[in-house]
Subunit: 387 residues, 4 copies
């Protein structure tokens, strides 16, 4: 089997999820390329070594600019905070690397466009890791839609709710600062929802949005709590410069009326990525916290027998499942990453492209930026007006 | 027991639900007034007689203007299509009748304001039948909120979905014409959601909305299908002049960010009036199709033991339930009307007011009209700007 | 419309539910007979008068033996504790009355058989009120089974759980004494489950059971708490002579393997009458606490699209629903009684029989008595061996 | 880190799940031993080589008797069909190997007892892989019980339903033959339920059971379909010698009344391992198909606020979860095996024992054999009478 060398940049939550995926893909899926965990790159030398040790990365580095130029690296896997994506992505593209990049794409539409154009010009394979597309239930929803089983789509109702910052003493980490994260849940969570909506419904035409910061100041993280403000006192406070919640009403190009609601202030919801799709022939509903299930209503059933079916999407004939376990033996969050790595390697092997990629990232950022502009101006914004 | 005479105007779906409620209230609830079903008033003499016969209304009439002047009538119960509310309501008020009125209040804010002012001036008891407030689970949600168990409210997410007009051959009934209904689900369904939100969360401050008519033309109803276009051919089509769906993002005066999503195009949803409330101390969720249940998350539970509780709101100590059956023996849609009639009679007996009333109807119409204006102008609209 | 006179014997929980049903049936259902609430009969003269007053019973009596002989009474409605059923039922039959009788049928199989034979000999209409059969979802389940949509039935799993006596200080009411109740949840709850199982699956062939009394002594009810032990001190205890829980494994005559599990010790379950049916062509599940829903799996759906459908059994074309409200507007516990009264009156009008009746009551008691014998002897018991 | 060599015997479904677990444990959990995948042993040389290649087993063998004697093997991992467990287990014990063994333990109680005594005599670490105990939600249920939050347990209701053999043409694989499998779902599925019940509730005192074979004959598997009957024609049929379903009612030593219901004939249920526990202070419910959730009712909540809580058992403070992903990012079936391997290695490192082990296996087999005897004799059987 042909080996391909991976360099990962960023070693935190996503570093772990990606390392796991690169390690497992060949054990479960049949693809002609075998990823070699070549270099792990992070700011903190000790932490990076520990990480590399745990996951079997052969070398470590603290200098991503060198890593992206190495001849013995085929794939650059970007797992850093958002504000670093652009420079790494473009450098990787310019050095002809295949790119596997975490979401959200970038700090704004302009950055994402620049990144897409660089990759396009370089002719490299690029993938943006909106991992939820590769949840078997969502892949299967796509299949039902493509088979015509949903018909004309009337509505999309997407929500993504979490609750990890409802404590006012939760510190001002990088996620809560615009310069590092671009936006709050509007980027972090709505980007996922917009990706799924574009995948299943189509392009968004116009947007009305309200973004809201509920707690406007938060304690600065101390030396232990984060890397950006080391040395400050716990009593110091800084300004939250991103949204805590972002709600949008949209119209799609195909006429469907939709909504997106993202929040980190929904107590009791841990990772509640939920959507409903209503069509002329059928309807769908999905809940990430029960990600092995898809709700499906078929309007061709006799009227009195109609009802949302709870489909366990765990049959060998459902997407990706034949690689895993028997029906009813569920899979989890991390499996989506293995599916993504598998499809990425297949695309590399077959010299095809893969979705979502930075083109999609750019289109998603355009929708999200339309939302920000709508919230700021108090007006509807056509997505195509964001340039 | 003191008897009070009721005249009902309108004898269709709501006429049935109200008649049932007036008939049952004294059998289950303890109140010093006994409603007498005195006069049933409808356009169609034969249909009205049948209706009166079934429900035991003593007399019938086809002339509401006479009915509202009768000295032997204490209560006017208005169950007509929306466009008739204003004239009947104001006439009833001017003749000093106590008024029990169906929702939505009126065709617009101005009408509702006029109605409220007439009732206020006349000093009569007036009630607007947003019946869902008196679902025990919603009354109980109110109680939890008033006890401080939800804390500061961060979010309201309200949706009300039905599917009864997704067939393009569903005819152009009065519900689909602005002159008779004022609006589509935006009035019919969002009015309920706004009522519940005002009850549980507070006043709405500003609104961004999109209203959408999906099927712009529909067959005119034939002689059998409706009373407004009798004699037309089934092949004739007329223009739908109301929304088929209406989605809004709002900010409440207390800072909560919220959403309202109403549609008659959500296949598979029959009467899906659903909401979530997220607060600093607890969260709630309610689904009208499972109306005997309330979901409640208590943040004071030990962290690892937290989860949404499915409370069966059927204990004798839950609101209204002691009148009915033992725990777990559920009640249904019509019971809300009995509760409303009970509270109305109690208010009459005690010479107090009752909520929601036409003041609430006016405030609800203000929010809804802000939504229409927002959709038409493509701009956020402050509710207080609707005058 | 022809009037028929009803006498009710027993004025507590069931008296209320039955009175409500007799009062409402003609308002919602089309049947040629109109029940007149003629006589209410109870032990306590004052309580009986209050009851009659609330519900509109024309007369009261404390002597059931006279009531059953009255020429102006057509229907005897028996709502007493179980131990009184037999004498009243047989006397009513012998006087040619039509009989509407509460469940469980009797204290044992021999009594029920005697009752059945008396009614059969007298040629009167008799009905045993296992009301749950007339839940629209259960009637609809029957329809699916009769249409062949479930195929060969492999399994029945029935459970009926409540929690109203888990407090050891709950007093020794008549329900907990064999001489008055016959048995505990084994009669009260399993009788319902066996009725549904016989209706949907078929006759039970053999039984293995364990009955268990968890709290063997309880406080005697004081003067206020019950009528059977008036005057005793609250500190006095008496022996519980019925089961607190009763679990059975059974084989049906058609080969299906099944289970019945009833308990009053299932904290958190208020009225959890739940069953699953698994067949060669489809499967069903029902939960009384969500009684407007039926779960249905259709094996003829494409494999990957299969899943339990949550059918809202509230369409006008579903059983009994056209009399009530639009789709999604749910009904409750008491509606089953109206359906029963409707079918009873229709049978009376058409001079047909109705199920379940005392024949069914006899067969149910045979199964339950087989369960008691199995628990006592530690052996499987064939139902036909109970004679 | 100290390395320990593992030899795996059996390379099918369980071979895959175990290999994955041995490979992943050190990446997620902190333990002083590092398993080396030393030898994979299977009947079929080619298949075994492929398996070893995929999973990184260093060597292969077709002779388990040699493997268990190798000095360079520390751990024997038994993944074979049930009928081979005993000989391998005892040989491994006699050669001083640490043993990780799949369930069900053995063909009967006598075998399991012999195995336990051999391991006990040899003083080796032994573990029986009833993996579900190590589902975080079940481990957490144990914690709640040990903290006294459930109180006195009144009931256990366990069910385990699948549907993979409802097609009468499903062939006569080893699972359907007593000589290879011992029993059907009674061993395969009820063994899991009995393990969980013993873990959470306590020892079973007596049993009444019915086992049922629904399709008594099935096609013999052809050359491709199985290894036991190679060469037979597809038209040939053989006798099914195990149960298709097995239902039991039991009493526990602590007085709780319980049930166990296992079937492979429950169409629509893929891996429905579900249980409820009802206690004096709280109740629990668990569904393996939603294995990241636990339902918990706390009777110390104010009465009106009580309801089953849906706890997402994905907090870092829940059992095993800190090794994995953030709250709401669910894990799946295979993770239980990683937890088992982790605890096994920790026990090895700390020279302690682990549960469940072959003692538990013996006790489980005793309950199950009591069930078989009860079904055969038609009598209740005390578990202690099985010797």
């Amino acid at each position: 089997m042909k080996k391909v060398n991976v360099a990962i940049i960023g070693t935190k939550f996503m570093g772990k999820a990606h390392s796991n995926a690169w390690s497992r893909v060949n054990k479960f899926f049949d693809v002609g390329l075998e990823p070699v965990l070549k270099v792990a790159c992070g700011r903190d030398p000790e932490g990076t070594k520990d990480f590399a040790n745990t996951w079997g990365w052969e070398e470590t580095s603290t200098d991503w600019e060198k890593v992206v130029t190495r001849d013995d690296v085929d794939i650059i896997d970007i797992c850093t905070p958002t504000y670093l994506h652009k420079d790494i992505f473009i450098a990787a593209a310019e050095h002809g690397k295949q790119i596997f990049c975490e979401k959200p794409a970038a700090l704004n539409y302009a950055e994402a466009k620049e990144m897409y154009e660089a990759a396009d010009k370089a002719g490299v394979l690029h993938y943006l890791n909106h991992n939820y597309r590769r949840t078997p239930a969502i892949s299967y929803a796509k299949q039902l839609i493509e088979e015509g089983k949903i018909g004309q789509i009337f509505h999309w109702r997407g929500t993504y709710l979490q609750d990890w910052i409802t404590d006012p003493n939760f510190p001002l980490t990088w996620h809560l600062q615009r310069k590092f994260a671009g936006a709050g849940p509007h980027y972090d969570l709505n980007s996922h929802s917009v990706d799924i909506a574009r995948y299943l419904v189509g392009e968004v035409y116009k947007v009305s949005a309200m973004l809201k910061t509920i707690f406007k100041q938060r304690p600065l993280p101390g030396a232990d709590a984060g890397t950006f403000k080391a040395g400050t006192s716990a009593a110091d406070k800084g300004e939250v410069t991103v949204d805590d919640a972002a709600f949008m009403v949209v119209e799609f190009e195909n006429g469907a009326l939709g909504s997106f609601e993202a929040s980190r202030f929904a107590n009791g919801r841990k990772n509640f990525n939920y959507f409903e799709i209503y069509g002329s022939k059928g309807s769908l509903a999905f809940d990430l916290e029960r990600m092995n299930e898809l709700q499906y209503l078929n309007l061709e059933d006799p009227t009195d027998e109609q009802g949302f079916r709870t489909i366990m999407v765990t049959n060998a004939t459902h997407p990706y499942i034949s690689a895993w376990w028997p029906p009813g033996h569920i899979i989890g969050y991390e499996h989506e990453f293995v599916h993504a790595v598998y499809d990425f390697l297949k695309a590399m092997e077959n010299q095809t492209s893969i979705s979502p990629n930075m083109y999609d990232g750019m289109k998603i950022m355009q929708v999200l930026e339309a939302g920000i502009k709508s919230s700021e101006t108090g007006k509807q914004v056509k997505v195509s007006d964001i340039q």
